[in-house]
């Protein structure tokens, strides 16, 4: 081994809030993502509790219909765009560069910009609650319900412009992941050795860059309809509400895989570790993820079976939708094969991963039901659909993310989460989850429509709805236990070594938490389980050349025996740039509302102010780069 490297820092370390605002370290940005997204998850959860309280008893007046509409719209929007996606991005940010043996993401400042745009986008959407009403047309925002005639408040405008910010954030983040994973791999880390979480993050990023532009166009057209008097979605002017549905679901269905694939990646890391076996059928697990990604672009119209497309079209989309069951099934069999005969440790992370498999299978099977147009005609827009989507998104994504939290918390903090509390957390969430969502299958089959804010007594829905409400509060209790666990473990959790689970991938090779530069000497990879082999000598060292300090692009300055390398300097300008966009969005939002201030029209001035801030940030950002920082 060569002598340890020392990082060259060009600026003194900043502390406290400024440090977090200026950070370009992928690990800190990862933590920012995780903390903010978890906060949004709590808010989305509170919205769910409000809905369940309203629906717990028939003819309830706890929430009015209008408020209920806002709450369920923001619940969906929050959980999808502000919780599950950024939680996955948070783990990806923290773990992916370490897993591939890199020192940071490819574009650290762009990474910071992605985070700040996400945060400002989320705040922007939530400001609508205090400025005259949140969006209220569902997270899918079907036209013409979203047109000014039916949604006269600014709620939809907040939704559109907030989503634009989240879109730029996701696009920038995905480009960063793709370039990082393709180009910053350590020597020997070829595609057949990439950890599966990295594989799934790569597929997810490709899905995002190809799917998101579709909804960008959809919401731009909607905004033009609302603010500039066009008629894209207004049938009476020849426009077509179905255009919205096609553009939206062309994004919306890949989005489903954007949310589930990272969780599948996490599970594919957790199961082998706690079964003390390599993943069963690595190539199948990796390439079935790629197959899901490709097929994900061919199924969007299965969300639209009931709108009256020709039978041949419905049949084609039904076929492609069912086809997705094949690579998904391949993954499930491989996971079962992984734990089969393994030396299983039922840690909390493992419990959540096993819970993921079980719940995801139920969600997958109800998905096959919905992929069949005749069945879909019967149960579309009922609670059956709500049951299905929560089994894959909560039973799938969220349980997978919990597994990731228990698995990687020791790496991120140097302390374990409490395992006893973890098990209470797991069982409360799992039991509460099934109490909440299993009865929805029956209610849906009996015809209870989704998105209604109340129902009459005597339909036979009362008992199951009450059970669901009890279940929802049980989930909430489980999440509270998790929050408590976080709080006590951060301060007084059992100290964790650098390799607390006897892991196989590179993140366990560096300290817990890792230093800013991740690895003093970047690793050379000889197998799919580089760290396992280093510990247990499982793999013959092949003829890979040893590269002393990292990848070719690392600047290596030799000072005696020490290797030095540059780490990117912190910068405030990603935050400033995101803030500029945030300001400009208000100008667009109130395009027609604000009265002119004397002779000066206010809105163009607000937009101008935002653009000036934006250019100021770009200019200084560029200068910092030119100055070689």
């Amino acid at each position: 081994m060569t002598a340890p490297a020392v990082p060259m820092t060009q600026q003194r370390e900043r502390e406290g809030l400024m440090d977090w605002m200026m950070t370009v370290d992928h690990k800190k940005i990862g933590i920012l993502y995780l903390v903010s997204a978890f906060a949004f998850f709590i808010v989305g959860g509170i919205e769910a509790l409000l809905m369940r309280t309203q629906l717990g008893t028939p003819n309830n007046t706890f929430l009015s219909g209008e408020v209920y509409n806002q709450i369920f719209t923001m619940h969906g929007t929050t959980m999808i765009f502000l919780a599950i996606m950024p939680l996955s991005v948070g783990f990806g940010n923290y773990i992916v560069p370490i897993m591939i043996g890199a020192r940071d993401m490819a574009f650290p400042r762009l990474n910071a910009l992605s985070y700040w745009l996400f945060l400002f986008g989320g705040i922007f959407m939530y400001l609508s609650f205090v400025t005259g009403g949140a969006p209220n047309a569902g997270w899918f925002s079907y036209a013409p319900l979203t047109e000014t005639q039916f949604s006269p408040t600014h709620g939809m405008d907040y939704w559109v412009l907030g989503l634009q910010m989240l879109g730029i954030s996701s696009l920038a983040g995905s480009i960063n992941f793709i370039v990082t994973i393709l180009n910053l791999r350590a020597p020997g880390m070829n595609f057949n050795r990439l950890p599966l979480f990295v594989w799934m993050t790569l597929v997810t990023s490709f899905l995002l860059i190809f799917a998101f532009p579709s909804v960008t166009v959809a919401i731009t057209l909607l905004f033009f309809d609302r603010q500039l008097g066009t008629n894209f979605y207004l049938a009476r002017q020849g426009g077509d509400p179905l255009l919205w549905q096609h553009l939206f679901w062309f994004f919306g269905h890949p989005e489903v895989y954007i949310m589930i694939l990272p969780a599948m990646g996490i599970v594919s890391e957790v199961l082998p570790t706690f079964s003390r076996k390599p993943i069963f059928g690595y190539t199948f697990v990796a390439y079935s993820g790629v197959a899901i990604g490709f097929l994900g672009f061919t199924v969007w119209a299965h969300h639209m079976f009931a709108v009256g497309m020709p039978p041949a079209v419905n049949a084609a989309f039904s076929l492609s939708s069912m086809l997705i069951g094949v690579p998904t099934g391949v993954k499930i069999f491989n996971w079962i094969g992984t734990i089969w005969g393994g030396n299983i440790r039922l840690s909390t992370a493992m419990l959540f991963a096993l819970g993921f498999i079980a719940m995801f299978i139920i969600g997958g099977i109800s998905g096959i039901f919905l992929a069949s147009p005749p069945v879909d005609y019967q149960i579309t827009d009922t609670y059956f659909v709500v049951a299905h989507l929560h089994y894959v998104l909560f039973g799938g994504s969220i349980l997978g993310l919990f597994a990731g939290a228990y698995y990687w918390f020791p790496k991120m903090t140097g302390r374990f989460l409490n395992e006893s509390l973890g098990k209470i957390n797991f069982w409360l969430v799992l039991i509460g989850f099934n109490l909440t969502f299993l009865p929805m299958h029956w209610l849906g089959a009996e015809g209870m429509p989704r998105r209604i804010y109340t129902y009459h007594a005597g339909f036979g829905w009362d008992f199951l709805n009450l059970i669901q409400t009890i279940g929802a509060f049980t989930i909430a209790l489980g999440v509270l236990v998790f929050v408590y666990n976080l709080a006590i473990s951060l301060r007084a959790g059992k100290p964790a070594s650098s390799d607390p689970w006897d892991g196989a991938t590179l993140e366990w090779q560096t300290s817990s938490p890792p230093p800013a530069y991740n690895f003093a000497v970047l690793p050379t990879v000889n197998s799919r389980r580089p760290f396992w082999d280093a510990k247990h000598g499982g793999h013959e060292q092949d003829s890979m050349p040893k590269v002393p300090a990292g990848m070719p692009h690392d600047e290596i300055l030799v000072h005696g025996q020490e290797h030095a390398f540059h780490m990117p300097s912190p910068s405030i300008y990603p935050l400033v740039l995101a803030f500029g966009i945030f300001v400009a969005m208000f100008g667009f939002l109130y395009m027609h509302d604000l009265p002119p201030l004397g002779p000066l029209p206010i809105n163009p001035l607000v937009i101008l102010l935002g653009v000036v801030i934006l250019f100021y940030a770009v200019f200084n950002w560029q200068n910092e780069v030119s100055a070689g920082k």
Binding site: F107, L171, V179, N183, P187, G229, G239, H553, D554
Partner: protein, 201 residues
Amino acid sequence: MEHSVSHSAHEHEMGSLGVDTKKLGMWTFLGSEVMLFTALIATYLVFRGKSVAGPTPQEAFADVTIVAFNTLVLLCSSLTMVLAHEGVERGDRKRFFAFILATAALGALFLSVQVYEYTKLINVEGMGLGVNLFSASFFTLTGFHGAHVSIGVLLLLITALRGWRQGFTKEFPLGVEMIGLYWHFVDLVWVVIFTLVYLLR
């Protein structure tokens, strides 16, 4: 554009894929842009013939001379962009500045002609965002493209300014090449738009 992980002693930062990191980022971005314009063009095509009121594309685009001229302008700007990049690779300052400014000027000329065309369409043909679907989807599509050209012109001018103030640093040719990728992409999109919107009216 972006500040990459480490400043390299090498001219290009060849990563594990064998491609420069920043260039790979630009290609990925353009991949996403393809989908953006696909959605916009699809919207325009879906609404073809669906307008309930005039004017129609046949009336508005009866004479495409001026747009054909504009297409020529943009195509020429791709040529000058290539020559500017060649100039910077050779270290030929005169050649570089002449051609990058020519590229920016051609871009600006394209935008001016587009503004003239818009004014004519609005004032003479009676088009407007709220007039009919054809107008709305036409202005949205070409407006998005025009915005891309505007950003391109701005980037070209900034690049020229950087080359003027800081000289040809080691990373400079790569910056020029990346602007070039973007510029050719925007040009290519225009060829598709010109064909589908104006020629196949």
